[in-house]
Symmetry: C2
């Protein structure tokens, strides 16, 4: 990669991060290019579409998330691992407004640049869930896609209501998935 290309690539990523943080993933790509001091064509040269840009921005963050998941799997408390995994993914899906929708759609669309990381997330989720099931802490009918569905729904609720409200929703749902329940109190997440 040529030195100037590298510089443009980095600038585009940096400005995209700022814009996504501020206006969500639906922000204008033209504006991103403008703020990066680059022609639109340059942006499209590096990132064929919006998802590719999002995907590139999430790269390191994804690695950290997956590593965290593996660490949870190596731990002992399967019930706690499930809760913490869900929380971690929700946090991740909340990085930019609009990201929850991209991720939810990415899992079903093999052509999406986000598909690989979605699949990886699903895989870790399956294993965390399997461990929790084996430990007898989740109901047997809970599936991996159930877990994905809660995570996305809760992330979306953070965008459209509040973090607090989303966490309450999460608490009730996890409680409905869990085998035992503390009497009279929503279980902590």
């Amino acid at each position: 990669m040529r030195a100037d290309a590298r510089r443009n690539y980095d600038r585009l990523l940096a400005e995209a991060d700022v814009a996504f943080r501020e206006h969500g993933t639906d922000t204008s790509l033209e504006a991103v290019a403008r703020r990066a001091g680059v022609a639109v064509g340059t942006l499209y040269g590096h990132f064929p579409n919006r998802r590719a840009l999002v995907s590139a921005l999430l790269r390191e963050r994804n690695e950290a998330l997956f590593a965290f998941g593996e660490r949870l799997l190596a731990g002992v408390d399967a019930g706690r691992a499930l809760r913490e995994w869900i929380s971690a993914v929700v946090d991740h899906a909340t990085t930019y407004r609009g990201l929850a929708a991209l991720l939810a759609d990415g899992i079903d669309d093999a052509a999406s640049e986000l598909h690989a990381s979605c699949a990886r997330m699903a895989d870790i989720g399956d294993r965390v869930l399997a461990a929790a099931r084996e430990a007898g802490v989740v109901r047997r009918e809970v599936t991996g896609t159930d877990v994905l569905a809660v995570m996305n729904a809760v992330a979306w609720t953070r965008e459209h209501a509040s973090t607090e409200q989303a966490d309450r929703l999460l608490a009730f749902t996890v409680d409905g998935m869990v085998t035992r329940r503390l009497p009279g109190r929503v279980s902590a997440t």
Copy 2:
């Protein structure tokens, strides 16, 4: 209202319904006007913005929903009433793709054309919830906004995953909100 104005108004509503059903609430208003055989300015004359158009389309549907809610309140089984109310609102919020987001945002935005109907929905929800609480079938910490949050989250999940998946999510969440639980089975909704 002049006769031609009335005709344009009706045509716009009809075409908007078709377009919203097909492409969601984010569809092009220019295209709606075009298909209605009317200039864009005419559309804006009748409906100052997208929400006003959605709101007008939902009018009768809203009335039916509210009437159903009142009927539920007059019934006897408070637990069943809560479940049915949630289901009914989820169905309603699923009329057009993108509607769940509009409704979720509408409750907090007093200036939104959808705010009044959102408030009405919230009010009925509060009363249904109060009855369920009095009957001892829901946990005491469940709030009216918790109920709103589930409904919106589940409606959104219908858009981005599937009706089946959304209904599973709903079942788990309601189960987490409910006082008693059938052993080993997700309760029906």
